[in-house]
Symmetry: C2
Subunit: 504 residues, 2 copies
């Protein structure tokens, strides 16, 4: 059960955590993963919060087909370039038994007239549908979210970060004006930020992607790229302003208030199971998973010291009033967009098959923030042994005082995690003014430096030192930060510093 | 916007309701549907309740791959017979641009070594995974639920009832003994019944499927088949006891407490978007959708009478305190397995683009239980106009008294719907003792009659009068109901009456 330390091998450390906290595993199908119950619960908690945030900003859920007709992907060559190359192609719709009924084979008579692609992303099928949904300015804006599995035939996969099949939420919105669409993209970046900061406990600055790093159809891409513990950037959240590109490809026009016809303006964005990868890489340590209470599947575990059913029953009786009280408790985290509370989840592990040691280790590995231990000694003195996972605090606590303490402890864990990640991110970000310094710091830092804004320079730097321009940062007002300088590579003039970093 | 009356054409009536209440539509991809926001919200409310029920009975969510290697489907010929014939087969993993870059085509070099089938059901891939998860009796029971899309290449599709792709929850549980597995199957039938009865407002008796109507791998299948308004049965909920069939096919054994090796016992069951079909067919009427408040996406709509932004603002100011109060209200429905309350969802429709008439019609069609209208007149006399959709009650009501009235009205609607469906189902069920009577009543009724229990007789009856044996009913104690008699077809002895009905 040993976990490889981060500094020995960051990549093996990650895989060890994922395996030993029972989050996910590779499946028998190439590139596809099995998300195990604890990993799925984590993902579901994130989904529930995001869902509420999107509802509160006027978005509605809908569902579109898994399959995309091949011809849809030919509508724009760029689209193929980005998504359609490495994908799962359905060519037949029937299997048949072989002659002696011992095996199945593809029925050659059941060939599809037009091949179907398992959606690598859904813009095409959705905009084909929007054509019938949008006639007039009265139908706009149309703000739709889809929860779906998507497939990209990735060559190199890593659990949660990059798999052939993955689960995500994708938003596809339609607007009457460019201004409306840009506002939606920016507003949703703010929603993401709220989620990342207040729930995932991560720090990130708001920024825009440089043109050459954008999704092909996007005219502007806003992004949040938090820093991982190895100083690399994770692109986990992007919000795209798509101009009228999809409206033109699928002929989606609306009648304006002045009775003229206009193409519709679009945005899209998505959040995937990759979030879990980011969460682990940002917070967990050499020994185990560390989870922010705002999204932890389990906040408190009560482990009884009991070897017989009789002992177990008496511990249960002792803690039952506590369990009942905890059930009524909830947590409220500050958020502009989430207006609900979060239930405190508490498990009394009464399994007699597994011993105390195994249980204690397992819940520690899984990052359960608070562990309570109850045995004969505790019952005799009306207390429990309390262990706070993050601070290593361990003490006996009277039953009466426990509940108030637990609430405070959970809020404190959330705040501490957030502060720690912010401090780490800021301490590992540096301004430099020469290419030599950029090279020296890029290995484990975010580097703020000037560049001339050309694709050429960006590509040369990428080839030479494997660092990319992650983003153009915003100032406090949400505008691009201005600062005159000279490019560290070409010495040509520059209007702003950008963030260079290594990434996944 | 006219809806075809049920008695004119039940099938067209259904399609009219689905289209005009904005629930779903056919997509450009053969057999696949688009679930529109209102339909998806309905589906999501059902999912949320079921999810909680399954959590409360110890089940956990997980996620397994979309693709199944073809060879897995060859493990048992029966499995192919049932599921694997009409399915989507992935044969290639790449597209390429044609020579002049104007079109995409399947890259012949990217042929898969083994074809993948888009899951028609997940038993095979899940049991392949369970082999690694189950070693000892300590690992059992394993109670897993998956929310997923599945694909069956159906020839004749109907929205929600039968589509090529559909969304469902599927449970796959593993147990140490046959007894444990049977208990799980029966208990989950009880959970379904709780859901159907207390939330969907439908009546159904608990029963078991006859052997020749079971899922191929099942040794016992428990089912609920509520009666639709045309007297037909809907098979929407089945719970299977699968014996050790999958454990043997995928070699899943466990070590017992006595240190021997045994094959694991299995159950499975599922609930799909077909539930929405049942809901409409059971409750809705000639004019519009009728929804039980327990799962309605929207309980109350407030339609302002306002043509200018100024008028709209003053109505909003008038109703804001009411909106704030409603936000804090919730509904509690009796259930053994659902321990949460349901938020009352209220919409203030402040869209100035659409007129009052259009809004009123739309929300009626969508079955919103309570409609409040507020204009100048109402504001002057401190009241609202209240319309209860189901009872046609319409009156002006003082603001102070409104909230208490609304709560009562919503509970009453739920109860009335449940009672109505029970009365209807019981009134349209009859006991007969001759084949002539069976033939006479079967068109629009459930018929309780004796049969000899052979597959032959069942098939002959099915061929002659298009009726099938839907189930063997249980008595109060949950055992199969005993009653000696003679088969209406063969006059051979019979141990019990069964339910004959037409079905979808």
């Amino acid at each position: 059960m040993a976990i490889t330390p981060q500094h020995t091998d960051y990549s093996t450390w990650y895989l060890d955590i994922v395996a030993q906290a029972w989050l996910a595993e590779h499946s028998a199908v190439r590139g596809c993963m099995v998300i195990k119950p604890y990993g799925y619960a984590l993902r579901d908690n994130m989904r529930i919060i995001l869902d509420r945030m999107f509802k509160n900003t006027g978005h509605k859920n809908a569902y579109f087909p898994l399959f995309i007709p091949k011809s849809y992907l030919s509508k724009e060559a760029q689209h193929v370039e980005w998504f359609a190359k490495e994908c799962a192609v359905v060519t037949h719709y029937r299997l048949r038994a072989n002659e002696d009924n011992t095996w199945v084979e593809v029925d050659p008579d059941a060939k599809l007239e037009e091949e179907l692609v398992v959606r690598p992303t859904s813009e095409t099928i959705i905009w084909h549908t929007y054509k019938n949904w949008i006639q007039s300015h009265r139908d706009l804006p149309l703000l739709i979210n889809q929860r779906a599995n998507v497939v990209r035939w990735e060559l190199r996969t890593r659990l949660f970060l990059r798999t052939a099949e993955f689960l995500r939420q994708e938003w596809h919105t339609a607007h009457a004006t460019a201004q409306d669409a840009i506002e939606e993209s920016r507003r949703m970046l703010d929603v993401y930020y709220d989620f990342v900061h207040n729930f995932l406990g991560m720090y990130a600055i708001l920024w825009e992607k440089p043109a050459h790093e954008r999704f092909a159809w996007a005219e502007a891409t806003y992004t949040l790229e938090p820093m991982m513990q190895d100083g690399k950037a994770l692109q986990a959240w992007t919000s795209h302003f798509l101009w009228q590109n999809f409206a033109k490809a699928f002929d989606v026009m609306y009648t304006t208030e002045n009775n003229t016809k206009e193409y519709v303006w679009a945005t899209s964005r998505w959040v995937s199971t990759r979030m879990i990868w980011g969460l682990i890489m940002a917070h967990s340590d050499d020994k185990w998973l560390v989870l922010p209470p705002a999204i932890a599947p389990l906040h408190i575990v009560i482990i009884p010291i009991a070897k017989t059913q009789e002992d177990m029953d008496s511990v249960r009786e002792y803690v039952q009033p506590l369990l009942d009280l905890i059930k009524k408790e909830s947590l409220t985290f500050y958020s502009k967009y989430f207006d609900k509370t979060i239930d405190i989840e508490c498990l009394f592990d009464d399994n007699l098959h597994h011993g105390f040691g195994r249980k204690a280790t397992q819940y520690e590995l899984q990052g359960v923030p608070i562990r309570l231990v109850v045995g004969k000694k505790e019952m005799e003195s009306w207390c429990v042994e309390m262990n706070i996972r993050r601070s290593w605090e361990k003490k006996h606590m009277e039953m009466d005082k426990l509940l108030a303490y637990i609430d405070k402890a959970l809020y404190k864990i959330q705040n501490d995690m957030c502060t720690k990640h912010k401090t780490f991110s800021q301490q590992n970000t540096i301004k430099v003014d020469s290419y030599e310094d950029l090279k020296a710091w890029i290995e484990k830092w975010f580097v703020l430096a000037h560049r001339d804004g050309t694709k050429e320079t960006a590509e040369k730097i990428q080839t030479e030192i494997w660092a990319t321009i992650r983003c153009l940062p915003f100032d406090e007002a949400g505008d691009l930060k201005q600062e005159i300088g000279t490019c560290v590579y070409s010495w040509k003039p520059s209007q702003r510093r950008v963030v260079f970093a290594k990434s996944y």
